[in-house]
């Protein structure tokens, strides 16, 4: 059965490690959103070269495993003289990865905005960039929020992969504690619980945001 003594004793250590997981998640989320936004706009650009660049980024990321992307950046790049260190490498890999999925989500949101919205904006003398920023994107992001939230939750769980590049976040902390306690069940159970808290909080917050927007527009 569960060793409650171990759980009570070690929970604070895991809770502290959760802070690093949270930090990695938030920074990757922010940059992942920006990468996604830029890639979505590239993919919708009238310029063929820009479309190609956006398309290539999304394709290469989505067709390769995150773990391989992470290793390429952390173990591979130093061979070319680019040593980002574990934290930067981890955040970059996660942001690039989630960014590719966000790109498709945001692009879908942009496409869903009726063409009349852009026409109305243009007929008022708004240029393409201004119309995109003020009229189309705010509506596109609202449409994309549920799917973006899904990407955010996946991102939080994927941060466990950076335990493989010596970042002592939640998963690696659990592993290390197992080394000294020989209590894998308790440790991984606590880690799972803490991940669930992070992801559920994210879902609830995004759900609230969705409701607020719906109410606001009523």
């Amino acid at each position: 059965m569960l060793d409650w003594g171990t759980i009570v004793h070690y929970f604070p250590f895991l809770l502290k490690a959760t802070l690093l997981t949270l930090k990695i998640s938030l920074i990757s989320l922010l940059f992942g959103f920006l990468f996604g936004l830029v890639a979505a706009l590239l993919k919708l650009s009238p310029n063929g070269l820009l479309r190609l660049i956006g398309g290539f980024y999304v394709w290469i990321i989505r067709s390769t495993p995150l773990l391989v992307q992470l290793f390429l950046i952390y173990f591979g790049l130093p061979q070319l003289g680019i040593d980002l260190g574990p934290f930067m490498s981890g955040v970059l890999a996660l942001a690039l990865n989630t960014g590719a999925y966000n790109a498709e989500t945001i692009r879908g949101g942009i496409i869903s905005v009726p063409s009349g919205q852009l026409e109305a904006a243009r007929s008022l003398g708004m240029g393409p960039a201004l119309a995109m920023r003020r009229i189309v994107l705010p509506q596109a992001i609202r449409v994309a929020i549920p799917a973006l939230g899904n990407n955010f939750v996946i991102l939080i769980k994927d941060t466990s992969l950076v335990s493989t590049i010596t970042l002592v976040e939640l998963t690696l902390t659990a592993q290390r504690l197992i080394g000294s306690t020989y209590k894998p069940f308790e440790m991984y159970l606590m880690a799972a619980f803490l991940y669930a808290i992070l992801t559920t909080t994210t879902s609830v917050l995004l759900g609230k945001l969705e409701t607020r927007i719906a109410v606001e527009r009523r």
């Binding site: 026409e119 109305a120 243009r122 007929s123 008022l124 003020r134 509506q139």
Partner: protein, 261 residues
Amino acid sequence: MSSPDAESMQMIEIHNLKKNFGDNEVLKNIHFNVKKSEVVAIIGPSGSGKSTLLRCVNHLEEPTSGEIYVEGVLLNDKSLKGRAFQRHLNQIRTKVGMVFQQFNLFPHMTALENVMEAPVNVLKETKADAEKTARELLDKVGIAEKADSYPGTLSGGQKQRVAIARALAMNPDVMLFDEATSALDPELVGEVLRVMENLAKEGMTMLVVTHEMGFADRVADRVVFMADGYIVEEGTPAELFRNPKNERTQKFLADVAHADV
């Protein structure tokens, strides 16, 4: 740029305008002028090209060939490319208000914010100035009390009046109405037509694509009948409605009168 004789100045001049969608010729060699303060109604069966003609006037449709001048300035100026052309378009569009059949209000903004949006972000007016003007315009179209409502809560007639206020906020020299009442429930048509009629009385230059024959008869200075991408016949409302010369016009008006019964 502007004509020395302001009285005879053409607000819009269209020469040899053609528009194809693929192999489909929607506009075939259109010649057409609108004078300052003139109210022109464009009528005709669906598919006649009347909306396309209207949309060419602010370049929402790109003409296949021909020239369009707005206040003497060539709209589809082929010598301008890329950003320079966009700036040129934006400049002209600030002077050409457009009202759409489907309203196209910005759903994430209140009525007031809809009206303020372009004056603040395009004309760079201060928020205070833009809000003052916007409130006056909402009052003018009779929905001052809906200033803080989102479009989703408004009726079709209210939405269209906000859309008219939004276009007027740019202080345009000409207003284009693309079947502005066609998406409205019958009992809401009147409130929008009244706003349009008041605008006409104030001397606004208006180009109105419409199915409201009564409105065209009462308010327009000139009525243009289009069919199959041509201007078939044009004249004063009295000429066109009471004494149509062309067989197509006669048949169309007979069909419309029949539908009203």
